[in-house]
Every structure is written in structure tokens, then in C-alpha cells.
Point group: C2
Chain length 289, copies 2
């Protein structure tokens, strides 16, 4: 199966799992908003969980709860990040954001409950022995909390009122939290599930995460809202420092390509079994949304 076919198949499998779990929750607006918020998207993080597990010889079913969990965590972060007091976005994946379609209170609560659901999903016994599941809980908490994703978001907001553009080091640190930490968790999840060495997947994911953010910055300049499914050009309009503003468009593209090579090299111990993860890294910098 090609990478693209695999990504599509995995997205459908993750979506079915999430729909089935959410179908068991009370039929209330806050749950409807949760269902809405987890629809769509590329499911790249979920794919990384499933593919890193497959690369290490695990059955997909064992990795599915962690794949669904990371997508819930990601969806919660988007719902809160889109709110008026944060990024104030009204379009996400080509649809109105949760606080636009419902209201801000529902966006707060749906995001909160999606974070909770992520941790609940990791308790599923099919994910393996309790030792493995608590390892996933700990890794996801560290990736998404005040030393990971939330820290990155806070630095991003602070940057807007800093009165000066960020330096390359500062943007790299910000990104390592904001988008990098969850991507790192996703790729490492396979190693946690397999109780294997995490180092190669961590190196792969660290390079991939940075490439992903650089590609996002490139898309913000070169993309259009219809294809991207969200507002573009807003970083430039806001005068925010990005990898593109600091490195130039060509420099940013070269840096992203270099990172993809680093990501691929990190997985050389796994030989042909790493092919789809390497293809995922290539995809990351060539995607249009």
C-alpha cells in the first residue's frame, strides 16, 4: 500500500473509532461539538502512531486507541486555539470553528472534554499491559502540558505582544512545543507500545516536527484559503516572524528538505520497514493543506 493510500485508510479507521466512542456519550450540544471538532483533517499524528507501531511489528488494533487519543488532543488544542481570546479564527478545515458554530462556552467545554477523552482512550486494555498504557499517559501529558504544546502556545501569544519579532532560536523553541511535542509523541508512541528503544523515532520526529512547521509557514505565504481550509497570509499581515521571514522562501524550503533527510537517516536501522514514515516526512513538506 502506498503512503497516501495508507494515510487515507488510517484516517478512516481513526475516524470510525472516534465516532464509535463518541456515540456512547450523552447526546448534548457539548458532545455534538466534540464530534464536529474531531471530524476531518489529515490525521497525520494518528497515522504516525499507527505506522510507527506497524514498523515495529505491532498489530494496528493495539495502536488504534493511542492514534485516536492524539487526534483528540490535537482537536482540543485547535478548538481552544481558534477562540477569540487566542488566534481568533473562524475557519478550520474549511468549516466554521466551534465557537462560531456554537458559542465560546461550548468551545471551552468541548475542548476540555476532548483533552479528557484523549487520556480516557489510552486506558483501553487493547493498548497493552497497564505498564505500557501508563507510559502512554505520561508521554502524552508531558508532550501536551506546560512543558510541551501549551508552553509553545503561550510563547506564541507572548510573541505577539513582545514588541519585536522573534529570533530563529526563539521560533524554533516555540515550534518545538507548539507543534513539535505532539508529533514527537505520535512517532514515539509506536516504541512505547512495543516497549522498544525510543531514540530513533524521537530523532525522526524532532526533525519531522520542525519541517512540518516550516512547511506551515511556507503555506501561509504561498497557499490559498480554499485549498488550505483555513485563513492564510495572517502571519505576514500581523508582521509575525516566521521561518519564511527569517530564512526567505528558498532558505525555508532548503531547511525543510534538509530536515526531511535527517528524519529519513534516523530510521535507517529499520530498513525497508521505515519506508512509509519516510514518505510521510516527504509529504509533510509538499502538502498543500
Amino acid at each position: 500500500m502506498s503512503f497516501t493510500a495508507q494515510l487515507t485508510a488510517d484516517a478512516a479507521r481513526i475516524e470510525a473509532h472516534l465516532n464509535s466512542v463518541l456515540a456512547g456519550k450523552p447526546d448534548q450540544p457539548v458532545v455534538q461539538a466534540m464530534r464536529y471538532a474531531v471530524q476531518g483533517g489529515k490525521r497525520l499524528r494518528g497515522f504516525l502512531v499507527l505506522e510507527s507501531a506497524r514498523m515495529l511489528g505491532l498489530p494496528e488494533a493495539q495502536a488504534l486507541p493511542a492514534a485516536a487519543a492524539v487526534e483528540c488532543l490535537h482537536a482540543y488544542s485547535l478548538v481552544h486555539d481558534d477562540m477569540p481570546c487566542m488566534d481568533n479564527d473562524d475557519l478550520r478545515r474549511g468549516l466554521p470553528t466551534v465557537h462560531v458554530k456554537w458559542d465560546e462556552a461550548t468551545a471551552v467545554l468541548a475542548g476540555d472534554a476532548l483533552q479528557t477523552l484523549a487520556f480516557e482512550l489510552l486506558c483501553d486494555p487493547v493498548a497493552g499491559p497497564a505498564e505500557v498504557r501508563i507510559g502512554l499517559v505520561q508521554a502524552l501529558a508531558q508532550a501536551s502540558g506546560a512543558e510541551g504544546m501549551v508552553l509553545g502556545q503561550a510563547l506564541d501569544i507572548a510573541a505577539e505582544t513582545a514588541g519585536r519579532p522573534l529570533t530563529l532560536d526563539e521560533i524554533t523553541a516555540l515550534q518545538a512545543g507548539k507543534t513539535g511535542a505532539l508529533i514527537r509523541f505520535s512517532a514515539e508512541a509506536g516504541a512505547i507500545l512495543a516497549q522498544a528503544d525510543r531514540a530513533p523515532l524521537r530523532t525522526y520526529a524532532t526533525a519531522l516536527g520542525l519541517a512540518f512547521q516550516i512547511a506551515d509557514d511556507i503555506l501561509d505565504v504561498t497557499g490559498d484559503a480554499t485549498t488550505a481550509g483555513k485563513r492564510v497570509g495572517k502571519d505576514q499581515a500581523a508582521g509575525k516572524a516566521t521561518f519564511v521571514s527569517l530564512l526567505g522562501l528558498d532558505g525555508a524550503r532548503a531547511k525543510a528538505a534538509d530536515l526531511v533527510s535527517q528524519a529519513a537517516a534516523a530510521l535507517s536501522p529499520y530498513g525497508a520497514a521505515a519506508a512509509k514514515l519516510i514518505a510521510a516526512a516527504e509529504f509533510t513538506i509538499h502538502r498543500r493543506n
Copy 2:
């Protein structure tokens, strides 16, 4: 040691644990807001975790991470609940709320990271074997998510726009989620930690949780803001149905006293070891904040 002395000692122990954990996080405004949000309060939930564990013969140290976790979870819910789009409160525990002292974005992120921290704390190996820890994660997720606390908060918000006051059954269901679920988790945590039968503590906590909310409604009518540390009279001003508006002040007091008797009866199998949990139930309906 008396119940009151124990509550004070436990609050100090929980606060010290939280301060020590948060001291290891990055010194950023979002972490400062987290530290601020977990200060103070009665720590009743944390006490319930520690005391239910003590009643079942466990060392306090084993229960401390779960006690700190439930206080983080509770603090996160207050930070988000106080936001302008939710309850819009500017005073909490006698101090400005997080979104007043910082801003709304910081309140969203600090609340988010406090929820994450709750789950991270439960991963602490001192809490017991992985099987026990994952049991705590699952129970906390179920208590706080879209079938528990968040559902209760969503029902509370929906009630404000329902155009009619809620019935007694509806208020009871709302409360079972909004405040009851986390109180139930707290008391059951001892049984989860001890791998013991959860039923007696669950019955105790269900009655306690309802008594707690009735007492809150009574305080909203009879209390003053200085003693309560938060705005009072707001339910009445908003024309919201409460246990007091539905049962009258005397009826609400009688109902609360009856629930405390039920809570005490549920713990009769534990004899004298249950004395402090029974005192906690008494305290709940006589407190002034």
C-alpha cells in the same frame, strides 16, 4: 487528630506537593497562572483522597499524587468556569480570577495545562503498580469528562437559556455531574489505590456530593462574599432554580442533613476508621465558604 486539624494538615501537604511539582516547570506566565490557580481553597477533594486511603490502611505518601491530581483538576475547572464566556466571575477564594489577573488566553491555557498536569501526576510510581495508576487515570477521566463534570457544566449553561427554571430531578442530574462526579472520584480513589471494594465509598460520596451542592446553594442565599471568598446571591439574582428555590431554606437544610446521615451509614462497615470521613460530611453542610 481532629477532622479540622487533619484537613489543615492535608491541605498543607497537598500544597507543598503541587508547589514542588510546579517549581520544576518553565518560569513562564502560564505556569505562574497555574501556581496561582492551585493556591488556597479547602482542599476537600484532596482530603477525601487521602482520608479514604488512610481509612483503608494505606500510607499517605501513596495517595498524595492522586490528592494533588484531583486538586489540579478542580482548579482547572474553576479557572475555565470563571471566564467571561462561562460564569464571568472576577473573584475566587477572595482573589482576582486568572483571566482578570492575567488575560483570557492565559486562563484558557493555564486551565488546559492544569488538566494535563492532573493526569501527569497520576503516573507517579509512588501511587502503586501500573494497574492501579491506570485505574486512577480512567476513573478521573470518566469523572471529569463529557459524562461527568463537563456535562454538568454544559447542562448548567444550557439551563440559563432554557427559558424556564429546572426541576428538582434536572438540578440533581446537573449537580451529579458538575460537582458530584469529582467528589465521587475523590472518595473512591482510596478504594482504587487499595484495590478494595468501591461500593461503600461510592455511596458515601454520592450522598456527600449532593449535600455539598445543597450547602452551596444555601450559602449563596445566606453567606456574604467576604467569608465565602466569591460572589454570593448571584443564583437568586439570575432567577436560577436551586435546591433552595425548589425546597425552601428549611427544606434544603433538612435534605442536606438527611444526606449526611446516608453518607455516614454507608461507611458503617469501617467502624471507627470512618470517623474523619463522617466528620467531613458534617463539615460540608456547616461550612461558611
